[in-house]
C-alpha cells in the first residue's frame, strides 16, 4: 500500500510536469505576444517590460525559470490586472469553486446511489422506467441548458410565491449554494445512477445475497449491509473522473449563476488572453485533478480489500 502510494505520487508529479510543460510550450506557440496589445509601445518601454516579465530571455531559460517558480508554488503576476498575483487569484476564488464542487459531488453521489439502488430494486417496473427516463434526459441535456432552466424555474417560483425563497444568482449564504450545486451535480448524478443500477443488478443476483436471504436476514439489513455496500464500489472508482467533469462543468454554472469562482475567472482570463493567469490556473487545475484521481484510487484500495494495490 505504502509503496503503491509513493509510486502513484511520483507518477502524479511527472504528469503534472508534463501538463506544465505542455501548457508552457502551447502558450509560447500563440501567435503574437502579451505586450502587443492595444497601446503602441516605444522600443524602450517594450524592452523594459520584456525585462520585467523575463520575456527577453531565451526560451529554454524562461522554461527553467517557469518550472522553478512552479516548484515553489509561484504562478507569477497577472498581465491584465496590475500587481495581482495569480496565487492571490487562486487563493481568493478557488475556495468558492471548491465549495460548489464538493456540494455538487455529495449531491451527485448520494442521489446516484439512492436512485440507482431504487431502480435496481424496482427493475422493469414503473419507478425504474420513470427514473431511467429522467436519467437519459440528464445525460442528454447540456449542463448550461440545465443551469439556465434551473435559474428560469427559480425566477418563476419566486415570482409565483411573491417572495425570494432562493436567490437567483450570486454567492454568500447557504441559500445561494443550493440550486447551483444541484444543477452542477445533475449530469454526474444521472451517470452515477446508471452505473449504480447495473452494479446493483449484479449484486442482487449474487450468491451471498441468496445465502443471507436463506439465513433469514431481514430485507432492510440485506439491503444496507450486503447489497448497498458492495454495489457502491464501482461508483467510487468513477468519482475521480467525475471530479474533473464537475470542475469544468463549474465554469458554466459559475458564469450563469454569477458565482465568483475560479472557473469563471479562468474563462474571463482566456477571453482577455491573460497569459500568466491561463497558465497558472491550467497547471493548478491539472495538478488538482491528477491528485484527486490518485486520492480516489487510494481510497478505493482502502475500502475494497479485494483490490491489491500493486
Amino acid at each position: 500500500m505504502g509503496r503503491y502510494a509513493v509510486k502513484r505520487l511520483i507518477q502524479g508529479v511527472i504528469t503534472v510536469w508534463f501538463i506544465a510543460t505542455a501548457t508552457f510550450f502551447a502558450m509560447h506557440a500563440v501567435p503574437g505576444d502579451p505586450l502587443s496589445g492595444d497601446k503602441a509601445l516605444t522600443e524602450k518601454i517594450r524592452a523594459n517590460l520584456e525585462a520585467k516579465y523575463g520575456l527577453d530571455q531565451p526560451l529554454m531559460t524562461q522554461y527553467a525559470i517557469y518550472l522553478g517558480n512552479i516548484a515553489q508554488g509561484d504562478f507569477g503576476i497577472s498581465f491584465t490586472q496590475e500587481n495581482r498575483e495569480v496565487n492571490d487569484i487562486i487563493r481568493e476564488h478557488f475556495p468558492v469553486s471548491a465549495t460548489l464542487g464538493i456540494l455538487a459531488i455529495v449531491f451527485a453521489g448520494l442521489g446516484g446511489v439512492l436512485w440507482g439502488a431504487l431502480t435496481a430494486i424496482y427493475r422493469n417496473r414503473l419507478p425504474d422506467t420513470i427514473i431511467m427516463f429522467l436519467v437519459i434526459l440528464g445525460i442528454s441535456v447540456p449542463s448550461f441548458v440545465i443551469a439556465a432552466l434551473g435559474q428560469l424555474s427559480l425566477v418563476n417560483i419566486n415570482e409565483w410565491t411573491g417572495v425570494s425563497i432562493l436567490p437567483v444568482g450570486g454567492w454568500g449564504t447557504v441559500w445561494h449554494m443550493i440550486v447551483p450545486s444541484m444543477v452542477l451535480g445533475l449530469g454526474t448524478m444521472a451517470y452515477l445512477t446508471r452505473l449504480m443500477r447495473s452494479s446493483m443488478l449484479e449484486i442482487i443476483n449474487s450468491d451471498f445475497v441468496r445465502t443471507a436471504k436463506s439465513k433469514g436476514v431481514p430485507p432492510t439489513q440485506i439491503f444496507t449491509r450486503h447489497q448497498l455496500r458492495n454495489a457502491i464500489l464501482p461508483v467510487i472508482t468513477v468519482l475521480g473522473p467525475s471530479i474533473a467533469t464537475i470542475t469544468t462543468g463549474g465554469f458554466v454554472v459559475e458564469i450563469i449563476f454569477a458565482i465568483p469562482g475560479l472557473g469563471r475567472y479562468f474563462v474571463q482570463a482566456v477571453q482577455q488572453l491573460d497569459y500568466t493567469v491561463i497558465m497558472g490556473t491550467t497547471v493548478f487545475y491539472g495538478a488538482f485533478l491528477v491528485f484527486m484521481v490518485i486520492l480516489v484510487d487510494l481510497i478505493y484500495g482502502l475500502i475494497d480489500p479485494r483490490v491489491r494495490l500493486e
Binding site: I136, V141, F144, V252
Partner: protein, 456 residues
C-alpha cells in the same frame, strides 16, 4: 477375453447423427447478425431514424428553405414562432413637441402606441420639483419597483415625452417618477401599459420591397412580413435557417472529430499491440500522459494556441484540438483488443498457413475490432457535440456570425426570460441529437459486442 465379432456393417456411418449436425438455418455473417439484433431494439431503431432525419434536415433543409442565416429582418426581432406578421402602413414621421391637447387624466398615450413612436403626456405629480424620470419596462411593475430602462429626465414644466428607442411590437410598461429638487426619486410614481402595433412608413415599405417604387397605398393598408417558421433571434435572423446551418457545424465536428481520432487511435493502438515489448511500453506511457491532460482545459488552451485569424470560423482549431487530445482512449482500447486477438487460435492457424503480418492485421485483427471501434465512434459523437456546444457557449468555440447550436444557446440564454424560444430550439436540437446517438450507441453495443451483451 471374449471374442468380438464384427462385420462390415458395424462400421457403417450412422446417418442420423449427420442430420443433427447439419446446418438447418442459413448462416449469418457477423454484420447480418448485428443488424438483426439492432432491428429488434426499438429504441435504437427510432434513434437511427432520428439521426437520418437530422441528416436530411441538415443537408436537404437549406435547399428547401433558402433563407440566408445571416440575413437580418429588422422588422421582426426576437419574434417567437407563429407570431403576428401583419404590418400597417402609416404616414411618414413628423416631429412632435408636445403640442395638442389630449383628453384624459394622469399618464396617458397621445395616440395608440406603434413601433414608429410612442408619445406620452402626463399631469403634474406631487413633489416633482426637479422634474420627472421616464422608464420603460417589459414586465409589470411589481412591489420591488423595478421600473426597467430609464429613458429620459425632463424639466418640471415639460410633461411630455416621445419614445422612439428600438420599439418592438410587444407590451410596454411606462413609469414616470417625480424627482425632488436635489434630483432624487420620490415616492410619487405613475405607470401605464400599452400594446404596441407594428407599423411601417411608405418609404420603409419601399425599402423592404413591400411597395413597388412609385407605388402608393392608403394609410392603414396591411402587409404581411416574411415568414419565419421558428421565429427570429435577437438580430432578426431566421431561426430555422440558423438551426440548419448550425447543424452543419455541430454535426461536422460531431462526426469528423471522432472519425479522425479513432482512426489515429486505431493505427497507434494496433502498432503498439502488434510490436509489443519495450516499444509497446513506450508508446502506451506517452498515451497515458495525454490521457492525464484535463480535457476541457486543454481544449480551451489549444483553441487559444491555434488562434483564429480574422474571418475564420474557428471550426478547424476545435477539430484539431479534439483529435490531439482524444486519440489515446481509442488507442488503449484497440491495443487491448489486438493483444487479446493475437493469442486466438485462428491467428495461429492463419500464421501456420503462411499468412504475412500485413495480412493478419488487415484481414483478422482490424475487422475483429471493428465492432468495438464502431461503438466507440457512436459514443464519441455525442460527447464531441457536447464539447462543441460547451466551448461555443463560453465563447471559445465557433466565432460569429457562423451559427452553431452551442453559440445559438449562448446568445439565447441572454434573453431567455423574454424570448425563451431563442434558447429552447438550439437546446432541443442538441439534446435530441445527443439522446439519439446515446441510445443508438447502447443498441450497437448490445448488437456488436457479445461480451457486453445483456449488461445495462
Amino acid at each position: 477375453m471374449a471374442e468380438l465379432k464384427l462385420d462390415a456393417n458395424a462400421f457403417a456411418p450412422i446417418h442420423q447423427e449427420q442430420e443433427i449436425q447439419s446446418i438447418s438455418r442459413p448462416s449469418l455473417s457477423y454484420w447480418q447478425d448485428a443488424w438483426i439484433r439492432l432491428k429488434a431494439n426499438r429504441r435504437a431503431l427510432i434513434s437511427l431514424y432520428l439521426i437520418i432525419g437530422l441528416l436530411i434536415f441538415t443537408f436537404l433543409g437549406p435547399v428547401v428553405w433558402q433563407v440566408d442565416p445571416a440575413q437580418q429582418d429588422v422588422d421582426q426581432i426576437s419574434q417567437p414562432p407563429f407570431a403576428d406578421r401583419t404590418v400597417t402602413l402609416v404616414t411618414e414621421y413628423e416631429p412632435w413637441y408636445g403640442e395638442g391637447a389630449v383628453a384624459g387624466e394622469g399618464l396617458r398615450f397621445v395616440e395608440d402606441p406603434t413601433t414608429q413612436y410612442i408619445r406620452l403626456v402626463w399631469d403634474e405629480l406631487p413633489g416633482a420639483a426637479g422634474g420627472y424620470r421616464v422608464y420603460r419596462n417589459l414586465f409589470p411593475i411589481g412591489p420591488e419597483r423595478a421600473y426597467g430602462l430609464p429613458l429620459i429626465e425632463t424639466e418640471p414644466g415639460k410633461r411630455f415625452f416621445e419614445d422612439r428607442l428600438d420599439l418592438q411590437p410587444t407590451t410596454y410598461y411606462y413609469s414616470i417618477v417625480a424627482l425632488d429638487a436635489a434630483g432624487y426619486e420620490t415616492e410619487s410614481v405613475e405607470t401605464i401599459s400599452g400594446d404596441v402595433t407594428r407599423v411601417i412608413t411608405p418609404s420603409e415599405a419601399r425599402g423592404r420591397g413591400l411597395l413597388a417604387e412609385g407605388e402608393n397605398a392608403a394609410v392603414g393598408t396591411q402587409f404581411r412580413l416574411a415568414t419565419h417558421p421558428l421565429g427570429t433571434d435577437y438580430l432578426g435572423r431566421d431561426m430555422l435557417a440558423r438551426l440548419m446551418h448550425g447543424a452543419r457545424v455541430s454535426l461536422f465536428i460531431g462526426f469528423f472529430a471522432p472519425l479522425l481520432f479513432v482512426l489515429i487511435g486505431v493505427i497507434y493502438g494496433s502498432i503498439a499491440g502488434f510490436v509489443g515489448g519495450v516499444g509497446d511500453q513506450v508508446l502506451m506511457r506517452f498515451a497515458d500522459f495525454v490521457v492525464a491532460l484535463p480535457f476541457l482545459l486543454f481544449m480551451i488552451l489549444f483553441k487559444v494556441v491555434f488562434a483564429i485569424g480574422p474571418g475564420e470560423s474557428g471550426i478547424m482549431p476545435m477539430l484539431l484540438a479534439m483529435v490531439i487530445l482524444l486519440w489515446p482512449a481509442t488507442a488503449r482500447l484497440v491495443r487491448g483488443q489486438i493483444l487479446q486477438i493475437r493469442e486466438e487460435g485462428y491467428i495461429s492457424a492463419s500464421r501456420l498457413l503462411g499468412a504475412k503480418t500485413n495480412y493478419l492485421v488487415l484481414r483478422h485483427m482490424i475487422p475483429n475490432t471493428m465492432g468495438v471501434i464502431l461503438v466507440t465512434i457512436t459514443f464519441a459523437v455525442p460527447s464531441a457535440i457536447f464539447t462543441e456546444a460547451f466551448l461555443s457557449f463560453i465563447g471559445m468555440g465557433v466565432a460569429p456570425p457562423t451559427p452553431s447550436w452551442g453559440s445559438m444557446c449562448n446568445e439565447g440564454i441572454k434573453t431567455m426570460l423574454t424570448t425563451p424560444h431563442e434558447l429552447i430550439f438550439p437546446a432541443l436540437f442538441i439534446s435530441v441529437t445527443v439522446l439519439a446517438f446515446n441510445l443508438l450507441g447502447d443498441g450497437l453495443r448490445d448488437a456488436l459486442d457479445a461480451r457486453m451483451r445483456g449488461r445495462e
